[in-house]
Amino acid sequence: MKLNYRIVIFALAIAFGVFFSIPSLLQTEEGKKVTLGLDLQGGLHMLLGVKTEEAVSSRMKSMAASVKHFAGRNDILIDGLAFNEKNVQFEVLDSDDILTIDEFLKDFEGINISKDSLVISISLTPAEILKTQKESVSQAIETIRNRLDQFGLSEPVVARQGDEKILVELAGIKTQEEEQRARELISRAAKLELMAVDEDRNARVYNMSEADAAEYGDIILNDVKNPSIKYLVHEIPVLDGGMLTDASMGFDENNRPLINFKLNAEGAEIFGDFTGRSVGKRLAVVLDGKVYSAPNINERIGGGSGQISGNYTVMEAKDLSIALRSGALLAPIYLMEKRSVGPSLGADSIKASLVALIGGFILVIIFMVFYYRLAGVIANIALIANLLILLAVMSLFGATLTLPGMAGIVLTVGMAVDANVIISERIRELIYEGKSMHKAIEEGYANAMRAILDANITTLIASVVLYAYGTGAIKGFAITMSIGILASMLTAILGTHGIYEMLENRIVKSKNNRLWFGIKG
């Protein structure tokens, strides 16, 4: 027996493999472990799209609200204030006020102002539109992340994918109902608007069409509890949720859950001004386009706090306050792709793939020993080392093990022994040719090397392409295949060579080719 550099490297590799795979194998408390993919541990994977164009039109809406508020505060008479997804338009009745308006509009960035005598039209510059769209995606990611952090699931993933897509991954969801609750929280616009009821015309609301309402600059909204109750409100809100600083769940005098909210200084001022001006009228609290309540304004309300009462359960009120607190979604999101796996299916998949892995492994091991005798044992040592290293590398890098990834490992078992088959066949051939044992081993490795390298590199090319173009769980397959191939170069080529070198004297002395390489003679 003699030591050589190959066997030393191999021993180190095995030590590395054992050390770093222990946390995953034994599920110890400490140490880095392989993460199970959502298809194995159960969970929700979603790809969400963002309707960025609606972020632009909502900017026009808040622009219109600003103009209205400014004009009201400074006693500037304007007429025909209207907005659409492209611009905001209004007419200044007194030409003396144009200067004041100009001064006011100067503070806004990224807008184009065009004037036709006293009619002013405001639109966003193309760069600003792009910026708004981009921001709406970033803001949606931020908002969804905030909401999920408060939802109570461990380590939710929220990430941008491409330009306008958001990837959401939630592990540890137990039931479909819980999943739906999470989805509700994610997708809720949580757009709070305080809107003035058009008291002059509200009495006629049941006889009005949308178009009629639009003529007065109003819209018709339904009550949240009872959709047959309608309200006619001014389309441009008094203020919106952007000025909200806090929201929390509370209870009313009858112990029913409600939501308390607080406004920032600017919001409080607008709120105070408006309520002062509108005593005797009603203010509709509108959330996501539904009227939650429309209390009468009895006096000027300072301090900037309010309540949203509704007929909700404690759970709903809690989720709603989370949504309000983490801010509204500037643009609505929609579902592009969803993969949801229940925990029981995940457990079944783990069981099934483990059975396949162990079954395949045992078959290969028995076959190799049967066919190659001790050479087969050596190849099997390499195979076990290969699996340990594969697991260790995956644990170390925190790679995700998916169901296709498990299939990749099973396949690695079948293909990793290939290198040893090639080598052993070469050695057998050389023994037949009458070469000495030493020569047979050395030349066998030398001859086999080129073929093994070429074969492995081409498989690696396919795996890398799969990784680059694959999505989700399929990436897991590419990962285990690639690591498996690379590890097999170390174990099956270098490792077994080291073992032969170490045992060479014994092999030569024994003169038992049948025992060592499974051949007669």
Binding site: L48, G49, Q176, Q180, R183, I186, I333, Y334, L335, M336, E337, K338, R339, S340, V341, G342, S344, L345, S349, A352, S353, A356, G360, L363, V364, M368, F370, Y371, P404, A407, V410, L411, V413, G414, M415, D418, V421, I422, E425, R428, E429, N447, R450, A451, D454, A455, I457, T458, T459, I461, A462, S463, V465, L466, Y469, G470, T471, A473, I474, K520
Partner: protein
């Protein structure tokens, strides 16, 4: 133990015509299937919704169908058993963009009252994502093939590269034909299996080619057919063994890997068999037909060698200060 001893060389090339006829027949059958019956794209590529439901008892499929009646979302929905009589899979062409209430939720509501069940899996793929996945999938197959082509051309010779690609196309086509025949849903996992076949079949082909290259360089015979026969014979033990071990594991995956991995394992199973066959009976004969000439290759190698020695001589002269 030994399967093959090199006491005689098998005349593979002599049988290549018959093998080729066999291959062409199967290829034709595959293409006819592909163009008449067509691939059955699953949700990943076609878009739509898949809901996997497990009941406590045998799944009441008729009752389920009844509860789907009258809702447009379930138009064209199919229900089929999945692995066991308790478990079924519902395939729908519809998908919805609504995050809060999606097709899965609607299905859950509709099935209420049909028994005690658990929804185990919901896959929803919107049309945009489906098309994207399809494009990406085709791109990945093409890119992998090109990458491999370049590598093999670089390591061997262009005829080797073309021959291995023909073998690949052969294998993938037959695998697709088999998928069509059985009517499997083509999803991302099948694509992954196809890419694995690509790698695996190539692996096999390259081991044989490597031997042919070696035989050509070292060989006494100037006849390519003889060289190929000898090389294929010499790698036959290895080819059989590796195919067997791989077949073992893929077969256990197919038998015990669970219903979800079934399509993947089936595709691989076909691929392993076809890939092994093609490296012997498709790739090698093509080399022969493309007019790969041993003589020219020798000359090329000799020229290369000459250039190298010339270079070396010049360098030596330069180093010793002659030039």
């Amino acid at each position: 133990m030994e399967f093959f001893k090199y006491t005689r060389t098998f005349n593979f090339m002599g049988r290549s015509k018959g093998a080729m006829a066999f291959s062409i027949a199967i290829l034709l059958a595959s293409y006819v299937l592909l163009f008449t019956k067509g691939l059955n794209y699953g949700v990943d590529f076609a878009g739509g919704t898949v809901v996997q439901v497990k009941y406590d008892t045998v799944a009441p499929i008729d009752k389920m169908r009844d509860s789907f009646k009258g809702n447009d979302i379930f138009n064209g929905a199919s229900i089929s058993e999945f692995g066991s009589p308790e478990e079924v899979i519902i395939r729908m062409k519809t998908s919805s963009g609504n995050v809060t209430t999606d097709v899965g939720d609607i299905t859950r509501e509709a099935l209420k009252g049909s028994g005690n069940f658990e929804i185990r899996r919901v896959d929803i793929v919107g049309p945009k994502v489906g098309n994207e996945l399809k494009e990406k999938g085709i791109m990945s197959l093409v890119l992998a093939a090109i990458g491999i082509l370049i590598y093999v051309a670089f390591r061997f010779e262009w005829r080797f590269a073309v021959a291995s690609i023909v073998a690949l196309v052969h294998d993938i086509s037959i695998a697709l034909g088999a998928i069509t025949l059985v009517g499997l849903d083509v999803n991302l996992d099948v694509l992954a299996a196809l890419l694995t076949i690509l790698g695996y079949s190539l692996n096999d082909t390259i081991i044989v080619f490597d031997r042919i290259r070696e035989g050509v360089i070292k060989g006494r015979s100037r006849d390519l057919a003889d060289t190929i026969n000898e090389s294929v014979t010499r790698t036959l033990a290895r080819t059989t063994l590796t195919s067997l071990t791989t077949f073992f594991v893929v077969f256990t995956l197919f038998m015990f890997g669970g219903e979800i991995i079934h399509a993947f394992a089936f595709t691989l199973l076909v691929g392993v068999v076809v890939g092994t066959y093609s490296s012997i009976f498709v790739a090698s004969p093509i080399l022969l037909w493309f007019g790969f000439s041993v003589k020219n290759y020798h000359n090329k190698l000799a020229q290369k060698e000459q250039r190298n020695t010339e270079k070396q001589r010049m360098r030596d002269q330069y180093d010793s200060g002659v030039v």
